[in-house]
């Protein structure tokens, strides 16, 4: 009994951890290319999930998911072009206020379009009650979908940044914007691309977890805080560490329910965030040597 309960909490933690990790990675992609902390990051997850639910009304599930991801990517690009691109050397505070403004705008827009209803996509395989038996413990296949998609995203990003020309150009832009421009790289387009990319992965994550966690117009800001905590926990700018940090936060939150009243669940991430900012702002995995050779 104990073991089973333990396992259930662990699985729930991993599921939420997936989405925290993806939002954290999204933060890092944009932070690395622009130095901006994009607090509208959680809205991409919401937009992805909500758009997919709508598209699922008249498209088969795979197409609905793909369509939602593409639409959210376009939104991400448009947001950068409309609100960010024309700014000349904005201060950090101004950027934070702008991205929070964008997040409110998207949330209110979503409220208008979709209303307050809680929605979800159907389970990708099977349904609510279908379960895989793993060493005697029951596991929803959607959990495997979530973790699997998270892994694929991480793998894809790794390949993209390490082994494609475009990825290398984005890394150059992240490492030193002026030097990248001096190579002839159109740095503004790279920044747009970083918004497109992090919108895309956010939307995809929003689709796969929606059957388990549900989605609603207002989930974005909460996710942004979780994702930001994860990004800080892993070390701002370090995408791979964000994955580990995402799972750590998800699992911690999940087990907290075991020992603390449920109401404290969200306080966990704020507590971790504040503690990290005070004690170790470079992140769990950050060290000075690594920062000098900073990369995605």
């Amino acid at each position: 009994m104990f073991f089973e309960l333990f396992f259930q909490y662990l699985v729930a933690g991993l599921t939420y951890g997936t989405i925290y990790a993806i939002v954290g990675i999204g933060f890092n992609i944009i932070y690395n290319t622009t130095g901006i902390i994009n607090f509208a990051q959680g809205e991409f997850v919401m937009l992805g999930g909500m758009t997919a639910v709508t598209l699922y009304g008249f498209l088969p599930l795979p197409l609905a998911v793909i369509g939602a991801v593409l639409i959210t990517m376009v939104m991400g690009g448009l947001i950068e072009m409309v609100f960010i691109r024309w700014l000349v050397k904005p201060t950090v505070l101004r950027m934070i206020i702008i991205t929070i403004g964008i997040s409110i705008l998207i949330r209110e827009g979503a409220l208008l379009v979709w209303g307050e209803g809680v929605r979800s996509l159907p389970y990708f395989t099977g349904n609510e009650i279908s379960a895989l038996s793993l060493g005697g413990v029951r596991l929803s296949p959607q959990v495997l979908w979530s973790i699997g998609v998270c892994m694929v995203i991480v793998l894809f990003l790794n390949l993209f940044f390490k082994h494609t020309m475009l990825g290398r150009e984005m890394r150059a832009c992240a490492a030193n914007r002026d030097a990248a421009a001096l190579c002839g790289i159109p740095t503004k387009n790279m920044i747009t691309l970083s918004f497109v990319l992090s919108a895309g992965i956010g939307a995809l994550a929003g689709c796969v977890v929606s059957p388990i966690t549900y989605t609603q117009y207002s989930i974005g800001s909460g996710l942004a805080i979780k994702g930001f905590t994860v990004a800080i926990l892993g070390g701002l700018g370090n995408s791979m560490a964000a994955v580990a940090a995402g799972f750590i936060l998800g699992i911690l939150e999940s087990f907290s329910i075991w020992v603390l009243p449920t109401a404290y669940k969200d306080a966990i991430s704020i507590a971790i965030l504040l503690a990290m900012l005070f004690i170790r702002p470079s992140g769990l995995f950050g060290n000075k040597e690594a920062m000098r050779l900073k990369d995605f």
Partner: protein, 240 residues
């Protein structure tokens, strides 16, 4: 090739350059010498569009590049090797060079990149040895060579160097200056900004003296080397 007229530039309200006019002809090495803080880096940043001019005009091959973004200026053939090298530290030497070839890839000259890479490795054999090493782990001199190689990969018509000798051992300085002379011999045009006035004037065709944002003197390099005022202000310390 490059003609700058009455250029004013600075940061915000701070005016650094005042009515600067210079020109560079094809095949020359032109040097701009001046003390720390004179505005040399500001001038090069303004030419490459990293900084917007407050007034004046910058013509490159007859085209006004004053309002162009940096990447278009670079793909137009005007490259800068920035102060402090600014290599990409977390990438290996070879990737730094390939990034320098961005404009060549965009022009569709994929096959030429291979040859350009060989040429850069021939010019800087040590880079070939360090091909797979992260740029951040190179010595200062090697990083300078990498930054120069990266700029050359774009096949620039004009290559501008911002204090390439800064912080390097005398032997390395000599090597860098030899390479600059070799670049000219191979038909390149060079704008060389230096505090190391003597070495710069020795290899240059012409020179300008920049003092607190103004060009106070210009002429043939040998004339400047022989000039009393230049000797006193810029050559005194390392007089032979």
């Amino acid at each position: 090739m490059l003609r700058i007229r009455n250029l004013d530039a600075g940061y915000g309200n701070l005016n650094v350059l005042r009515r600067v006019s210079i020109h560079v002809k094809p095949g020359e090495i032109v040097t701009i010498i001046g003390a720390n803080g004179a505005g040399k880096t500001t001038l090069l940043k303004t030419i490459t569009g990293l900084l917007k001019a407050q007034a004046g005009e910058v013509l490159f091959n007859g085209q006004d590049i004053g309002a162009m973004p940096t990447e278009r200026i670079v793909s137009g053939g005007c490259s800068l090797v920035p102060e402090g090298r600014q290599v990409f530290p977390a990438m290996p030497v070879s990737e730094n060079l390939l990034l320098g070839a961005y404009v060549q890839f965009k022009r569709g000259n994929k096959h030429e990149v291979e040859r350009d890479l060989d040429r850069v490795y021939a010019l800087f054999p040590v880079l070939k040895q360090r091909e797979h090493q992260l740029a951040g782990t190179l010595s200062g001199g090697e990083q300078q060579m990498l930054a120069m190689g990266r700029a050359l990969m774009a096949r620039p018509k004009l290559i501008m160097l911002d204090e390439p000798s800064m912080g390097l051992a005398p032997l390395m300085v000599k090597e860098i200056f030899n390479i600059i002379v070799r670049l000219r011999a191979e038909g390149n045009t060079v704008l060389l900004v230096e505090q190391n006035a003597r070495s710069a004037l020795k290899i240059a065709n012409r020179g300008y003296v920049l003092e607190t944002g103004r060009i106070i003197l210009e002429g043939e390099a040998e004339d400047l080397l022989a000039n009393r005022d230049v000797q006193r202000a810029y050559l005194g310390r390392d007089a032979e």
